[in-house]
Structure formats: C-alpha cells, structure tokens
C-alpha cells in the first residue's frame, strides 16, 4: 500500500515537473523581434526630460479652480483619476523600469492633473484605471474615473453618453503590410484581402466603410495584429498611423504603406456629462495649445516616429460630438 502511494506521489511530482519545464521552455522561445519595444526610454535621462515637459506646463489660478466644482473636487482629492491603458505604444505605456506612465495621452492627463493640483511629482499626479472600449462610457457615467485619456475617438453616438473635450489630436489610420508586399498601396487595395485590426479601434469601422469587401479580423492588442501580419494570417494591419510607425520602427519584417492617413480620427478627452468639466478642460487645452506645451509633448512622444514638422493643434469643438 505505502509502496504504491509513494510511487504515485513520485509520478505526480515528475509529471508536474515536466509540465512546468515545458511551460518555461515555451515561454523562453518566444520571438522578441515581433514584440513591441518598451518605448519611453529606460534611460533615466529620457524620462527626466519627459517629466520636465509635464511640470513646465501651466497651473490654474485659485479663482479658475473655485469657479468649477469638478476642478475643485479634484484639487481637494490631490490627484486625477484617469481611465486609460498602460500598454499603448506612443500614447500610454508604462515604463517598466520606473513604473511611470509615459506617452502622448498619459502626458496630457499628467499635464491636466498638474494644471489643477500644481504638484510636481509626475508619478503621483494621476491614478490609472484600465478601461476598455466596453467599459469607458460606463466608468465615466458612474464616476469611477474623472476623465478618460485613451485615444478616444469622438463620435456623435458616444457624445450622447459622455462629454468630449477637444479634439486634442487629429489622427488618421494607415496600413501596415509585410515587408516586400507591393500589392497593397492604398485602402482601395484592401478589398478582397484579409485585414487585421484591434477589436477596440474605430479602424475596424473605417475598413468596413471604405473597403467593404475586405475580410476583417479583430484581435485584442497591437502585438497580436503585428504578429498576424508577420505570420501571414492577415495581409494588412490598419490602425492609427503613429502606432503603426512605432511598430514598424522596431520590427524590420513589416512596413507602413499608403502615404498619408486615409481617415480622420479626432481624439478627445472623455468626461462625465453631469460634472460640468468640459468648459474647464477645453480652457486647459486652449492654454497648452497656445503656450507650446502641447507641441513639446508631441515632439517628445508621437514626433519621435512621425516624421515632419509638428502639426498645428486642432480647433477645439470643430468635430461633431465635441
């Protein structure tokens, strides 16, 4: 009896050990070339330059804050509760060495928090709650977060649920293909092809509209879409131009084609409708557009991959829904 049970115990331990070893071996042989690099610079020099841009931004006067109940509440709170992501290259990525959130969206949220509270410790300015396309509007409506900075495209349908401050960036979609693929040059060539995009992106809607005969595959995140193109599951990947350029920079097996972006995608800051925050945040945006802080942040984030001059900031309220 005891001999049998000790044999069984040894066997179970052996099986468990083998499975664990197999799992470790599988994870170790993942190809790092296709994974997006951890941008933002591990070097502390890069980070401190970024922090300087944030803390150099304007700070609101007491009268401006007291005039707006939403801003007053946040100043008393001491930090801004932000809904967003921490795995979006160029826009909101967590620097793994310091734990700080960096990127264009992250920087704007930190600048807004600095504007209201006046604090200078960039890491403590905002508290991030991860939101997805499925949860953003609900989180704003029940005040789980104060504002949403998540490459949030302004659409009239969404504007019925939440308020949008901005637009703060005019994005556009572009196309990524495997290097050497010359059959796809513009969005019209996508008809009849397999196109990958993120399941939480309006790029999916754009492709349905502009290339209705394309077969659309939706994946959960950027890395999966790039892997799909690289491995031949999809012929092309459509997403925001900035993100695609960032991926292509790190991955020599893919390239971005199509010239200028073929859609116009205005990003806005999501706010609760009843809070009265919109005019306050719009005033903040107007200030940083005029003072050049917006341009500095752009140059430090999106400007590192999108070549050319810093574009003019978009006109506030110029888009239906904003």
């Amino acid at each position: 009896m005891s001999l049998l049970s000790s044999v069984r115990r040894r066997r179970t331990a052996a099986v468990a050990g083998l499975s664990a070893a197999a799992l470790v071996a599988l994870s170790a042989c993942s190809s790092s070339a296709s994974a997006p690099s951890i941008d933002g610079g591990g070097a502390s020099g890069h980070l401190s330059a970024y922090n300087k841009i944030i803390t150099a931004g304007p700070v609101a006067s007491d009268s401006e804050i007291n005039a707006n109940p939403w801003a007053k509440k946040i100043k008393q709170q001491g930090y801004l509760r932000v809904g967003g992501t921490d795995s979006g290259p160029l826009f909101s990525l967590r620097d793994l060495n310091s734990g700080e959130l960096t990127g264009f969206d992250a920087g704007l949220s930190q600048m807004l928090a600095h504007y209201i509270t006046g604090k200078t410790d960039v890491k403590a300015l905002t508290k991030l709650t991860i939101t997805s396309v499925d949860t953003r509007e609900t989180m704003l409506q029940n005040n789980t977060v104060d504002a949403v900075f998540a490459t949030y495209s302004i659409t009239p349908e969404r504007a019925q649920k939440v308020d949008f401050a901005g637009p703060y960036y005019q994005s556009g979609d572009s196309i990524m293909v495997k290097k050497g693929n010359t059959s796809i040059k513009s969005v019209k060539d996508l008809n009849g092809k397999t196109v990958a995009t993120e399941s939480n992106s309006t790029a999916a809607l754009a492709v349905h509209q502009l290339a209705p005969k394309a077969h659309v595959l939706l994946f959960k995140d950027d890395a999966q879409c790039v892997a799909a193109v690289q491995q031949g599951r999809a012929d092309a990947y459509v997403l925001d131009q900035g993100i695609l350029l960032g991926d292509a920079q790190n991955n020599p097996a893919v390239q971005v084609v199509g010239g200028n972006p073929f859609t116009v995608d205005p990003y806005g800051i999501g706010l609760n409708k009843q809070s009265g925050a919109k005019p306050f945040v719009n005033a903040f945006l107007k200030k940083i557009f005029a003072s050049g802080d917006w341009a500095k942040l752009y140059k430090a984030t999106i400007g590192t991959v999108v070549k050319g001059e810093v574009p003019n900031p978009p006109k506030i309220g110029s888009v239906p829904g904003s």
Partner: protein
C-alpha cells in the same frame, strides 16, 4: 433594444459561430476524453503515463494561454492553422482533459465486483469496458459531462480575444460603434444562458431516461 433588433442578423451569425465552436469543441472533447479515460484505466503502463501527463497539462493551463500559444506561437514554428479551426481545436484539447476525468469518475463509480465478474467469465479488457462497465458508468457521468459542455460554451467566448467572429466578438463590435455596453452585453449573456439551460435540460432528460426504475 432597438439596436439589438436592427442588428439581429449580424448577432445571430455570431451565435451560429459560437454554437459551431461549442459543438465541435464538445464532440472533440468527448471523443478524445474517452480515449484518454480508457488509457488511464487500462493495463498498459506507458499509455497510463501519457494519459496522466496529458490531463495534468491541459487541465491546468489557462485556455487563453493555450489559444494565444496555438494561434501566435505555432506559426513561428511553421504551422499556421485558420482561426476558427485553431479555436475549436484548443477548446477540444482543453475540455478533453475535463471530460476524461469526468468519465474516469463515472467508471470508478461502478463497483469492482462487476469488472471482476466480467473478467471471470472471460471478457477481455475492452470487452469489459464496452459491455459491462461503460453502460453502467454512463449514468454517473451525465451531469459532469453537462458541466463540461457548459464549460466549453462559456469558454468559447475567449475566442473573441483572438479574432474569431463569434457572439462576444460581434457584441464588442456593436458596442464599439454605438457605445451601448449594458444592452449589448446583457443580450449576449442572455443568449449564453439560454444555450446553457438547453444543455442542462438535455442532461436532466438523459439522466431520467437512464435512471434505474425500481
């Protein structure tokens, strides 16, 4: 609600995909699970080891990891399988481990005397299983297998994360366009509930049909 009604065709296609994934996954799990259960209770030691290793591995790995490894890891090794097929295969592989254990539990619930008596009158191992043990074991296996079925149905929603256009994926697409999260996901939840209840009802009917009438 108006939103759901307008897009009912689109969503129903998603339901078809979900049902397809569930049926293929469950049938695959039953077949593979039966083979594994026979291996595990059989007299051949290497087969027993293989069966145990398979079950310990596939029962304890998250289905999402398996899906991602299969869909994004295999192509690096040279084998690219279409998305729907990959999702169905992963579901079958994962659920077969649970099905195997459910069947083994049912087989062990048949008293040893039955197997001994069958051996005594000359049945071989497979004949013992086929004519004596499995027919009696099946009664005990029905509800655990219904559990496996419901598990496969609900796990099929994970395939949405890797691009398969089943119900959850299509609900997410609708929500993306119209920002009606609560309505969309309540509808999807209701559909899953209805299918699971149907599975449970079939299970109870089967159980009653197999019950010993005294």
């Amino acid at each position: 609600m108006h939103l759901i009604v307008t897009h009912l065709g689109f969503l129903m296609q998603g339901v078809l995909f979900t049902l397809g994934l569930t049926v293929i996954g469950f049938v695959g799990a039953l077949v593979l699970g039966t083979v594994l259960a026979v291996c595990r209770v059989g007299p051949i030691t290497p087969l027993r080891v293989i069966g145990s290793a398979y079950v310990e591995f596939f029962r304890n790995i998250p289905l999402l990891s398996l899906l991602v490894l299969f869909i994004f890891g295999l192509p690096d090794a040279g084998v690219t399988i279409p998305l729907f097929a990959s999702a169905a295969i992963c579901l079958a592989l994962s659920a077969s481990a649970f099905a195997c254990e459910a069947m083994r539990g049912g087989i062990n619930s048949v008293s040893v005397g039955q197997a001994e008596a069958a051996r005594a009158i000359g049945f071989s191992f497979l004949e013992v299983l086929r004519f004596v043990v499995l027919p009696q074991a099946f009664r005990a296996m029905v509800q655990p297998l219904v559990n496996v079925f419901i598990g496969v149905l609900l796990s099929s929603a994970l395939a949405a994360a890797v691009g398969v256009a089943e119900l959850t994926n299509r609900t997410q697409q609708l929500n993306l366009k119209y920002a009606e999260a609560v309505v969309c996901f309540l509808f999807a939840g209701a559909v899953y509930l209805v299918i699971a209840l149907a599975g449970g009802t079939v299970g109870s009917r089967l159980e009653r049909w197999l019950a010993i009438k005294r």
